[in-house]
Symmetry: C2
Subunit: 246 residues, 2 copies
């Protein structure tokens, strides 16, 4: 809890401000948001919320990684959302949650009670607008993901995932946060398998395949070096016209 204190002062100093709901607020509006917000932390592995839970808060991810998961009774599960810093959880206007939310690393959330938050939406229209924009972004991401799940080979799935993570280490405003050629995987092999609609064995085999072909270099289990991003992009099967890499 301690290490997140600095950013608790004000939303204005929030490191995720650029994508969060408050992206376009002036100081006055930030103050209104500040009055109803609070921070909450979860340990790695902890369940943040379960399908069917009443949804009385909405939140932005400040630090860490969480997953949105959908399961069938027989044990099959599919990740349906990967929540990285700046992503938003929860939906104004909904009463219950549709998915299991789990912290896969230590997670810090910036929470808002849903009711006062909804009341605030009425007073601050561009927050509403921002939420729509974020929902549409998520929808686009979900649709690309559907193409991946439905039509890509295991190798393409892994390559696409690596590209996705590489891209997420970059600010939407274009500022590079990390070294694109070295990415830290935020999730385990098992979570990756659930992300990609594969088994962990296949994920593992594809990693070694890409390594043997010189497309990636592994440095431990969670760190990947990418000698040439273009080669990886080629492996991913993505349209190259999908906008600039950054």
């Amino acid at each position: 809890m301690n290490k997140v204190l600095p950013i608790m002062e004000s939303c204005a100093s929030c490191p995720i401000r650029h994508r969060a709901v408050c992206a376009r607020c002036d100081d006055d509006e930030l103050e209104q948001l500040n009055q109803i917000k609070f921070y909450k932390t979860y340990a790695a592995g902890q369940t943040i919320a379960m399908r069917g839970d009443a949804l009385d808060v909405v939140a932005s991810v400040v630090a860490g990684t969480a997953t949105l998961e959908r399961a069938i009774e027989d044990g099959r599960t599919q990740l349906v959302g990967l929540l990285l810093p700046s992503d938003f959880i929860g939906r104004p206007g909904r009463d219950t949650l549709q998915y299991d939310v789990t912290a896969v690393t230590d997670v810090t959330l910036c929470c808002f009670q849903r009711k006062p938050f909804e009341a605030l939406l009425i007073r601050i229209p561009h927050v509403q607008e921002r939420l729509l924009e974020m929902a549409l972004d998520e929808l686009d991401a979900a649709r690309d993901w559907m193409l991946l799940l439905g039509r890509k080979t295991a190798r393409e799935k892994i390559a696409s995932f690596l590209m996705l993570i590489a891209k997420r280490t970059v600010h939407p405003d274009g500022r590079v946060l990390g070294d694109l050629s070295r990415i830290e995987l935020p999730i385990s092999r098992e979570a990756m398998a659930n992300f990609l609609g594969l088994t962990i064995e296949t994920v593992s085999r594809q990693f070694t395949g890409l390594r043997k072909d010189g497309v990636i270099e592994l440095d431990g289990n969670r760190s990947v070096r990418i000698p040439d991003l273009e080669t990886l992009l080629l492996e991913s099967g993505d349209d190259s016209d999908g906008g600039p890499l950054i």
Copy 2:
């Protein structure tokens, strides 16, 4: 074009009003929407818009079926959206379209020029709210779809698809439009294959499999009778706690 004329009078008489953007508008606000709206029809098979196109209109589907499609250069394609009457196309705030939109039957759209529509959003807040709600609905649907693509067997995929279509013949307000036990498939085997991440051969085989097992009865290529909806639900692999059937 002729047969859609009656609904062109006013949004208030629009048969899809219950889910369209104007769901909660009063007469005054409807009038404002009416002033910027116009209808457009497309023949079956016609391309409505292509990936990369400038997005100067948004629209509701009034009649017919359209698809949202994402493709890889080598010819693989994946449906990422099925647009049935009352669904909304286009996104305020976006300049270009991410997907190919195709009319699979004759389609009638209720269109709004994007710029005046966006201007209107500012004046009528619950339209904005309604759009967010619809985007979140679509997101939920996309996520269920991801579970289907990533984790379900071919047979479960077909059963799920039939359930989906069966449910869509019912109003969200609970009113049953058609006979649930007889459903008309809005799309071809090929489109179904693209919907489900399968090949048309597999789709065909699963249909005959379900038929031989007495789960469905086929009446031509586009009409399916379902003797017992519960049996089909069981085959679909869906949580039964996913809310009431209707």
